[in-house]
């Protein structure tokens, strides 16, 4: 397999290099950067607080898991904290924390009142300079304790120049109620909420650029039509009908969607201006063109086409011109998804009847395999910071949703109720 991949890489290098200059690269990801060592000692309660241990534990574990997940920070193992004196928030001995190799110390204080209110205070220090980097208070109802921990983790990301991804959400399809319905959950799989209630098949959801709306395909009128659901207004409207209409993706400026439609008799790619309603057909051939996805700049579209005889991944300009192929080996590729930093395209390949997720690096023209022969792995979708992906896999015997880092590390299952599939992570964060 590895040999096979090497050959694949060489082939792509040889054939695709001339087009490399046309492919956009917006941000360079800081791969391979050593993670920042952080100490996160147990939170404490303020003097006037209720000692709600369950609440404390949940917030602590949530924040810990977020930072551990980030690939930006690495947490000093908890057992090391017992080597030094217990933290006294009023008189912090930074030398102690330096002695267990912490660069950053996070000090959390909880004030839980009897009337369901919660205040979480976080002070973050640089250990060597003994300097306070930032301090923040987060307040809410106790039921949103996880959200507060995620906000605190987001603040850490922002302070270190990273995208706040921990309050982002994933939309997905669940069959837990016997029929395919759309759900939303936190990035880590918690707080799952159903958003469509009908007895029809609802599939392939995706986020609008402002994260306030969901496009999805529903069979409610006995034909796969594309709908737009406004999460906050609770309103649903029809976006595209006639033939099959599916696999919508929003441009980063929030103005246009691209999607697959067979309205003219064959699966082709269309873009629709969501402000004017203007529809434009982008592909013209008698075979299948599908699964379009915007580049983050909105200048290009990655998509699947059968024009060479088998489904392969192509890139074209936003207006449908300048089509070039990026996959050359293998006979089945689909579900391309462009990383929000513009550097890579993830997609699904079938090789020797295994369905795995691959990542094509647009800068180096290298292909890497993300998942390793465990069930069928489908529908990859990037985190807003391009460091992680969410995907669905039937490796456990039924379809569930998993997280994985860009380099294949830290695979983690995040759903369990019923079958869950077709995840889409929010693509953009403010």
């Amino acid at each position: 397999m590895r040999k096979h991949l090497m050959f694949l890489t060489v082939l792509i290098l040889a054939t695709a290099f001339p087009t490399a200059a046309q492919q956009e690269i917006t941000v360079r990801i800081r791969e391979g950067m050593p993670a920042i060592p952080v100490a996160l000692p147990e939170f404490r309660f303020t003097e006037n607080s209720l000692a709600d241990e369950g609440l404390k534990k949940e917030m602590y574990e949530t924040l810990w898991a977020d930072l551990e997940f980030s690939r930006i920070f690495t947490l000093i193992p908890r057992e090391h904290y017992s080597y030094i004196a217990r933290l006294n928030p009023d008189k912090i001995v930074m030398k102690d924390w330096a002695s267990i190799q912490a660069n950053i110390l996070m000090v959390g204080l909880i004030e839980a009142s009897g009337d369901d209110r919660l205040i979480f205070s976080l002070n973050v220090y640089e250990v060597n300079s003994e300097r306070l980097i930032f301090g923040r208070n987060f307040g809410s109802k106790k039921e949103f304790s996880r959200l507060i921990a995620h906000r605190a983790a987001d603040e850490m990301m922002k302070q270190f120049g990273e995208k706040p991804i921990f309050t982002t959400k994933t939309v997905f399809v669940s069959e837990r109620d016997n029929d395919k319905e759309i759900y939303i959950m936190d990035y880590d799989g918690h707080r799952q909420t159903r958003i469509t209630i009908n007895s029809a098949i609802d599939i392939l959801p995706s986020w609008s650029a402002d994260n306030e709306k969901i496009t999805y395909t529903s069979y409610r009128r006995l034909s796969p039509e594309l709908y737009l659901f406004d999460i906050y207004a609770g309103r649903t409207e029809l976006v595209a009908s006639g033939g099959s209409n599916y696999a919508a993706d929003w441009s980063s400026d929030g103005e246009r969607i691209v999607f697959t439609s067979s309205r003219d008799g064959n699966a082709e790619i269309y873009s629709k201006n969501m402000k004017t309603g203007a529809l434009k057909r982008l592909t013209f051939n008698p075979v299948i063109d599908s699964s379009p996805c915007w580049s983050p700049s909105g200048r290009e579209i990655a998509f699947t086409s059968e024009r060479s005889g088998t489904p392969q991944i192509y890139i074209m300009d936003a207006e449908g011109a300048n089509v070039r192929r990026i996959t050359f080996e293998g006979s089945y590729h689909d579900s391309p998804t462009w990383s929000p930093d513009g550097t890579r395209i993830a997609f699904v390949s079938r090789i020797n009847s295994n369905f795995d997720i691959y990542i094509y690096n647009l800068k180096s023209n290298e292909l890497s395999k993300l998942t390793e022969k465990a069930g069928r792995n489908e529908n990859p979708s990037w985190s807003p910071d391009s460091r992680h992906l969410v995907f669905s896999s039937n490796r456990s015997g039924q379809y569930q949703i998993y997280l994985v880092d860009y380099d294949g590390q830290n695979v983690r299952r995040i759903t369990s109720a019923g079958e869950n599939k077709m995840p889409k992570w929010q693509r953009y964060v403010k």
Partner: protein, 178 residues
């Protein structure tokens, strides 16, 4: 013409029956037996005179679908071209649809569980379209046949062997109007 024949035949039978009924008291059986006899013979006589057409008219769309008047066809892995052994099935479907010229058909294209959701919708659509074109070539009016693709959303059988996959890669022909 047929209808006239049926009516006259029925009339003849009714006359015959009334003649029998009149004759019966002469042998003096109990009246109950006579009643029974009439009831027994009546449906027996009626049944064979219902034509295929009349039967069709009597049945609901659901009943016609349940009976499997239109048979499903299967496809090869990754393919949407019609298999030669499936063409006779389509021909018999076409014959039936030509006979009952009022029916409208929805062809559902389906895929097995392998493959991506997106591509399978397109593939299912191509499969439904292939059957539709074939039926049109056999004389069915295009406006009588609609298509829908379910991709891999509605598998027919569970199972991870080729036999199950084969059963799932299919077109179903659903009567939607008669």
């Amino acid at each position: 013409m047929k209808r006239v024949a049926i009516v006259s035949l029925s009339l003849a039978l009714v006359l015959m029956l009334s003649f029998c009924a009149k004759k019966a008291p002469k042998v003096e059986p109990t009246p109950a037996t006579t009643m029974e006899k009439v009831e027994e013979t009546a449906p027996k006589v009626e049944k064979p005179v219902l034509t295929e057409e009349e039967l069709f008219l009597q049945k609901s769309i659901e009943q016609l679908n349940r009976e499997g008047n239109l048979k499903r066809i299967n496809f090869d892995f990754d393919k949407y071209t019609l298999r030669d052994d499936m063409k006779p099935i389509l021909q018999s479907n076409a014959e039936w649809a030509l006979k009952f010229a009022t029916i409208e058909i929805l062809i559902e294209g389906h895929c097995d569980e392998r493959g991506t959701v997106e591509y399978n919708i397109a593939l299912g659509e191509k499969r439904a379209e292939a059957a539709r074109n074939y039926l049109i070539s056999l004389g069915i009016a295009p406006e009588r046949i609609k298509t829908i693709s379910y991709g891999k959303s509605k598998t027919l059988v569970q199972g991870v062997d080729e036999a199950s996959f084969f059963q799932n890669r299919r077109d179903e022909f659903v009567i939607t109007k008669k």
